[in-house]
């Protein structure tokens, strides 16, 4: 037995030698971690977060615009590989909008991802000891403005189903709030950002915001968005106040405003809404009513160009391509002067200031090669005119469906197949409850 004891002793001592204990932890090799930003961020780190925010705002934007554009019957998205654009979104037969499908889950998640980045930027800027208070206000004011805008886009989709406003702590998310409360919260967020920007120094690059690259400029953008929120809330006088503080200008170019920009640069994106004309397979075509109902001479027919051949899919047809985004690096507006003019018109009319309303409408009409407004000077007729101008001026920029819903006119949208439906809102995406 002695031998066994000996042998086992050898084995055990060999084992003991084997405790060559140096544990390895390689860290993350593929990018920075959140902790590296939230601690004490440098100015260049804050700029990285800010650029990431601007960049991320473009993610899945095409789904948002196709959602709003399809349901608002601005056009169809035909895809050989993806039928849900023409089944679910148009409410074909017994199909419904499903909470697990890409058309709601993807844009919703992309917007909240930017919200998260904004919250991280706010946290990083607040914790940073390497920047001045004014610079801090600049970052925070920007982050809050963008956050409000992103929340608004999601609320536009889910409408009365609402959104979460308080999402700072991923483990303890705030409650869902309904449409009205959601808009109230978004307006409050914009207001607090305005306060931040009133005492701020903007030292960061803002691609797409070229004319608004300082604190005053950002504040004008903030107010433009506030004006949009105000008309959604039917707060007409607040809308006019906000318009006054924005970059609204009856004499300026309609396209004056802030945009998403695209480039072929490394890690950058191309405009996801760009599809060349006369394609087959993957195409975006204008709803036939766009050309059918446009006034003679309106230059906005150029946004829906004639195709060399008719495109059809599952009982739907169109002979016009959507031609709003004409290159892979074309700008995609966030908000621009033409919308502000129309907000001004709408808020004026709703405030019984019909003359100012008509004046603004005529700026739009003459800008698009149309004679001045000549129909009844009644509020209802004028509002119909505003909605019609918005339809053509803001074609495929994400407005028609929301406008018709605001005025309870979804029933007026055309149905192209016997069993199609117009949806009022998207369900809350799966996994939220």
């Amino acid at each position: 037995m002695k031998r066994i004891t000996y042998i086992h002793a050898v084995l055990i001592s060999a084992l003991t030698v084997c405790f060559y204990s140096c544990k390895k932890d390689y860290g993350n090799l593929n990018g920075p971690t959140i902790e590296q930003f939230s601690g004490n961020a440098s100015e260049s780190q804050l700029d990285n977060l800010l650029s990431g925010t601007l960049s991320g705002m473009r993610n899945n934007l095409a789904y948002y615009l196709d959602d709003v554009g399809s349901i608002g019957r601005e056009g169809y998205r035909f895809s050989g590989s993806e039928p849900r654009y023409v089944t679910d979104l148009l409410g074909a037969g017994t199909t419904t909008l499903t909470n697990s499908n890409f058309y709601i889950t993807d844009p919703w998640a992309a917007r909240y991802r930017v919200v998260k980045n904004c919250n991280l930027l706010i946290e990083a800027a607040t914790n940073s000891t390497l920047i001045s208070d004014a610079e801090k206000n600049g970052y925070v004011g920007f982050a809050r403005t963008i956050k409000a805008y992103q929340l608004l886009l999601n609320l536009n989709l889910t409408y009365s189903n609402g959104i979460r406003v308080d999402v700072a702590d991923p483990n303890h998310l705030g409650p869902f709030v309904g449409y009205d409360d959601g808009l109230t919260a978004i307006a409050a967020l914009l207001d607090s950002a305005k306060t931040d920007l009133s005492n701020a120094s903007v030292v960061f690059p803002l691609p797409g915001f070229e004319a608004f690259g300082d604190a005053a400029g950002l504040s004008q953008v903030n107010r433009a968005l506030a004006a949009r929120v105000a008309i959604y809330r039917k707060q007409w006088s607040q809308a006019l106040t906000a318009i006054g503080e924005s970059f609204f200008d009856l004499t300026k170019n309609f396209y004056f405003g802030v945009n998403h920009v695209f480039s072929t640069g490394a890690g950058d994106q191309l405009n996801p809404m760009f599809i060349p004309q006369n394609q087959t397979g993957e195409i975006r075509v204008a709803h036939p009513s766009y050309a059918a109902e446009i006034e003679a001479g309106d230059d906005r027919i150029g946004k829906a160009t004639l195709r060399s051949s008719v495109a059809s899919l599952t009982g739907l047809s169109s002979d016009r391509d959507v031609w709003v985004y004409t290159s892979s690096t074309a700008l995609l507006p966030i908000i621009r002067n033409e919308e502000l003019i129309l907000i001004y018109a709408e808020a004026s009319i709703q405030s019984a200031d019909l003359a100012d309303g008509v004046k603004a409408i005529n700026v739009i009409r003459s800008g698009h090669n149309l004679p001045p407004y000549s129909r009844a000077m009644t509020k209802d007729t004028l509002i119909t005119e505003v909605l019609n101008q918005r339809r053509y001026s803001l074609f495929f920029e994400g407005h028609r469906w929301i406008d018709m819903r605001r005025y309870d006119k979804l029933g007026y949208l055309p149905l192209d197949r016997p069993n199609d439906h117009v949806w009022v809102e998207f369900p809350i995406p799966v996994g939220e409850n």
Binding site: S51, S55, S81, R113, L173, Q269, T280, E282, V310, T314
Partner: protein, 967 residues
């Protein structure tokens, strides 16, 4: 030598000659004095010489033959000992520890083995991974794509993980081989997964284990679950596949030259819709467009230009050749095996194919009586052209484009070679095939080293040092080229995706093993040691767009985007194992391995993986007497193993997202969990094995229950948190199953020998605990897996017309295979393998894509209650019922059949020993009701999801002629 030998009375010297049943000498047979470690091996001529004590018993044993026990005194000088074939494989030596092995008759687990004959000698498959299919009882195997170059998902004993690794660990001659599936970045073009990522699990890459050469393999052992594989620790959760390659044998140098010539053709086509002017017109609802379509059809009809594009695209006949030259030989001290091989095969789509060149050199050398060393080295160069198939969202994949292209479309090039744009889809598949490239090229070098040294030796005890280790290095280059003149490149104006992957895996085991014969009937094997495994993976993908016409280099482009992913790990630990054998009939095994991993939340924490086993051979204990059973064993084993979390799952990171030249950081959609733990499995298996009728019939029955604790889920987070997912240890699941194996030799006469085996296996899973809200992992509209407490882990849920419910299950009800080998006069042999899978549903979207594109062959049939065309009717189900997508994928497949004749008395050419000629068919006949190209499909990769079918590269069948000459 560290310890002096005990001096024993040398009472007698015995000599003998050992032969097989046909009187051929058998070298390397072990001749040992019972209850001691005194012994020798037979030489090239089968002769041996051994000094034995008086009245001793000797045991003569060799793999493939039954052991013989004889009294030394009964042996006269040079007696002839004829071994009997071990048909039921009870004498086979099976590896059970990292450095130890036992004979199958004493084994506590059901370890599957595949011999080189079964693996590769009936009807060889294109790649090693495909050759495994149908041969492993307990496995569920699917092809990710039928594309040349392999890519197989192997799941042993049910799903072992949901979002973690489900694939087994492959160990080749002691080297832990990498089996990564590295995407070529095709998602850039197909956008199969939305959201702008360059890669997705739908890119159908091949798995790196496909690189191995089946011809070099001597045998494969399959440790199906933790009860057998626990000693492999943290990477053994999916089971372990231990591959042993051929080694040299002493004696005359054998040279074998073999040549295969064959043809690869499509297994099955679906057919296309027959158009009429009316049907063509119905493709559009617009009256003008509809009329144009009608005219287009009539014009095509008049010109005789109506095509079957499916046949044209998938109808290529690939030529296949395979040449192998191998050599083995050696002497007393050094043995070697050398092989060089090349195969080159065309695919069923033009421009696709597979080429593999390999060199292997195995050498074993005995430095002295106490130290031996083995080196196995392998260089592989492979290249596969895989085409562009499977899911997409851009109409670019060949199958998706075909699905909406009617036969009257004109896709052929004009006389200048220019292809017209396909007005019915986003791409012209003929153009895509002609112009695109999707190539994976691998250079791989793997070397294993095996050192055994006797540290101590006496008649009752041997202590050895065993060191094993090696490395596996490869460089994978993926090239995906889409020139600017392709129809779908109008925006990107030419895309060139170049991926470079370097991977280095290393591992070693240093162990001490002691064999001790305590008394006549009791012996112990003790082993202990340290282990270490490292991995270093670096994948860089460059995506160039706006490529200068005709250029391949990514710098010849207007825009360039790079993506890099790195992963590194170190797993290290130590183990002890004790085996006790009583009467050579009762074997008790216990062991434990401690392992830590840099991928765990706490990289310094050791996790313990215990195992224990008991086998009792009732016949050897003489508990069962009589002539009926000549071997009967009951056994039980228990063990634990884990799956370490994926690299990086503990970090919350930011990803690069630039704008207008400004570098941007955007939070990743995956949230990290700093406290993440490995998922742990515990398996208990029990069984009974017996052989009867003089070992002409053997039966193995196994029951197992495998529990997986803390399985890893990439849990969906509420996306309003800014994250979409997070790794969490989300619950427990359980697999239970039965495996029954039957080996028989129904006929054994001088003229005919018939060997047969039948296997039956089934598995049932159940989620026993789940802390998350059950949500579909995919879309309810198209049916999806869903993890839910109290339900099968592999259930498929979807819309069912009245909300959502269970529509099916991907796990088969059972599977069976049967292998037969009939040899006539030892010259003519017929072998075949039949595989039956009963049940198990696939998510078939291929058929529906054809309906959606209005080209399915049965589109116009009317068999539904509404009286509309079936294609229309099926379309109407979408959105309210997903039942049409969930289809029973049962099949009966004649996987392999081969007929061979051997000429072995070639007196006229003295230097040729024998010539073997044969013909074989691989995957030639399949009976199934499943409505797509192949029921054995899994287009969404090797993860949890199985059976997704969406316009894959169709499966191929192969017919091959073989000739092999032995010199």
């Amino acid at each position: 030598m560290l310890f002096p030998c005990l001096l024993l009375a040398q009472a007698k010297t015995i000599t003998g000659r050992i032969t097989d049943p046909r009187d051929n000498p058998v070298p390397n047979v072990s001749v040992v004095v019972k209850n001691t470690y005194r012994g020798t091996v037979s030489d090239v001529d089968g002769k041996f010489k051994l000094d034995v004590p008086a009245n001793s018993t000797i045991i003569i044993s060799h793999g493939g033959f039954k052991s013989q026990i004889m009294q030394a005194d009964s042996l006269s000088a040079n007696s002839l000992i004829r071994l009997e074939e071990d048909f039921t494989k009870m004498e086979e030596v099976v590896v059970t520890g990292l450095a130890t092995s036992v004979k199958r008759r004493n084994l506590a687990n059901a370890v599957g083995t595949i011999s080189s004959k079964e693996l590769n000698s009936v009807a060889p498959a294109q790649t090693f991974d495909a050759a495994l299919n149908g041969k492993i009882p307990g496995a569920y195997i699917n092809a990710n794509s039928g594309a040349p170059g392999g890519g197989i998902s192997v799941k042993l004993r049910g799903v072992t993980s949901v979002f973690g690794n489900t694939q087994p660990l492959y160990v080749l001659d002691g080297v832990f081989m990498d089996n990564s599936f590295t995407s070529a970045g095709l998602n850039t073009v197909t956008k199969a997964r939305r959201g702008g990522s360059i890669t997705s699990n739908q890119d159908n890459p091949s798995g790196r284990i496909a690189d191995l050469r089946a011809e070099d393999i001597e045998n494969i052992e399959i440790l199906k679950g933790p009860s057998a594989a626990a000693i492999y620790g943290s990477r053994a959760s999916g089971g372990v596949i231990i591959i042993t390659t051929k080694r040299g044998k002493p004696g005359r140098t054998n040279i074998t030259v073999s040549q295969d010539l064959g043809q690869v053709s499509v297994g099955r086509l679906l057919g296309v819709r027959e158009f009429t002017a009316e049907r063509a017109a119905s493709l559009s609802s617009d009256s003008a467009a509809s009329e144009a379509l009608r005219q287009q059809f009539l014009a095509a009809q008049a010109a005789g230009e109506i095509y079957d594009y499916e046949k044209e695209v998938y109808g290529n006949k690939g030529f296949a050749r395979n040449t192998v030259i191998s050599m083995n030989g050696g002497g007393e001290k050094t043995n070697f095996y050398f092989s060089v091989a090349q195969k080159d095969e065309g695919g069923i789509i033009k421009g696709t194919g597979y080429r593999n060149t390999s060199l292997r050199f195995n050498i074993d050398h005995r430095i002295n009586d106490n130290i031996k060393i083995g080196i196995s080295s392998n260089y592989i160069n492979s290249s596969s052209d895989r085409g562009l198939t499977g899911n997409d969202n851009t109409g670019t994949s060949i199958g998706i484009a075909l699905s909406s292209t009617p036969g009257f479309a004109q896709l052929h090039p004009d006389k200048f070679g220019n292809y017209p744009a396909n007005p019915f889809a986003g791409s012209n598949p003929l153009q895509t095939i002609a112009l695109m490239t999707n190539n994976e090229a691998v250079n791989r070098f793997a070397t294993g080293l095996d050192l055994e040294a006797n540290l101590q030796k006496s008649s009752r005890s041997i202590t050895k040092f065993i060191g094993r280790g090696g490395f596996d290095f490869y460089n994978l280059e993926t090239t995906a080229l889409f020139p600017s003149n392709l129809q779908f490149q109008v925006v990107d104006k030419g895309t060139s995706i170049l991926g470079t992957t370097r991977n280095l895996n290393t591992n070693f085991i240093l162990s001490l093993v002691n064999n001790f014969a305590a008394s006549g009937d009791l012996s112990f094997t003790t082993s202990a040691g340290i282990t270490s495994e490292t991995g270093d993976y670096n994948n860089l993908i460059n995506v160039a767009t706006h490529v200068i016409s005709g250029q391949l280099n990514v710098d010849q482009a207007g825009a360039l985007n790079a993506t890099q992913f790195r992963a590194k790990f170190l797993n290290d630990g130590f183990f002890v194992q004790e085996e006790a054998s009583i009467h050579d009939a009762v074997t008790l095994t216990g062991g434990v391995r401690f392992d830590r991993s840099s991928n765990n939340g706490d990289a310094g924490k050791y996790y313990a993986y215990p195992k224990a086993g008991l086998s009792v051979n009732l016949t050897r204990l003489a508990l069962i007497k009589g002539s009926l059973f000549d071997n009967m064993k009951v056994r039980a084993a228990y063990g634990q193993a884990t799956n370490v979390p994926a690299y990086g799952s503990k970090f919350t990171t930011l990803v690069i997202s630039n704008i207008a030249g400004n570098p941007g950081a955007l939070v990743n959609t995956q949230k990290g969990d700093p406290s993440i733990k490995p998922e742990r499995q515990a398996e208990l298996e029990a069984g009974v094995d017996f052989s009867l009728l003089k070992s002409r019939l053997g039966l193995e029955f196994t029951y197992y229950i495998k529990k997986i604790f803390d399985f890893l889920m990439r849990a969906q987070l509420p996306s309003s948190s800014g994250f979409s997912s997070q790794w969490v240890n989300a619950g427990d699941l359980r697999n239970r199953g039965i495996e029954i194996g039957l080996n028989a030799r129904p006929v054994a006469s001088n003229t005919i020998i018939w060997n047969a085996s039948v296997n039956f296996w089934l598995n049932r899973s159940l989620v026993t605990r789940y802390i998350l809200t059950p949500v579909p992992l995919g879309s309810l509209v198209f049916a999806s897996p869903q993890i839910e407490q109290g339900k099968s882990a592999t259930q498929i849920v979807g819309l069912n017309g009245a909300g959502a419910g269970v529509l099916g299950d991907t796990d088969p009800k059972f599977q069976m295979n049967t292998y037969h080998e009939i040899t006539f006069k030892n010259k003519l042999s017929l072998s075949f393998l039949l595989h039956w899978k009963k049940g198990g549903d696939n998510g078939n979207l291929t058929n529906w894509q054809n309906d959606f594109g209005q080209t399915s062959v049965d589109f116009d049939k009317v068999t539904n209650k509404l009286g509309v065309p079936d294609g229309v009717y099926r379309q109407m189900q979408v959105g309210s019922s997903a039942a049409i997508f969930v289809q029973d994928a049962s099949y009966l497949r004649l996987r392999e059949i081969g007929l061979y004749y051997t000429f072995d008395k070639l007196s006229f050419i003295s230097f040729i020993k024998k010539i073997r000629v044969g013909v074989s068919l691989n995957n030639y006949f399949t009976i199934t009701k499943y409505k797509s190209y192949d029921p054995e499909v899994s287009n969404f990769g090797t993860g949890f999801a199985t059976g997704d079918d969406i316009d894959p590269y169709p499966a191929s069948k192969r017919a091959t002629f073989h000739i092999a000459i032995d010199f």
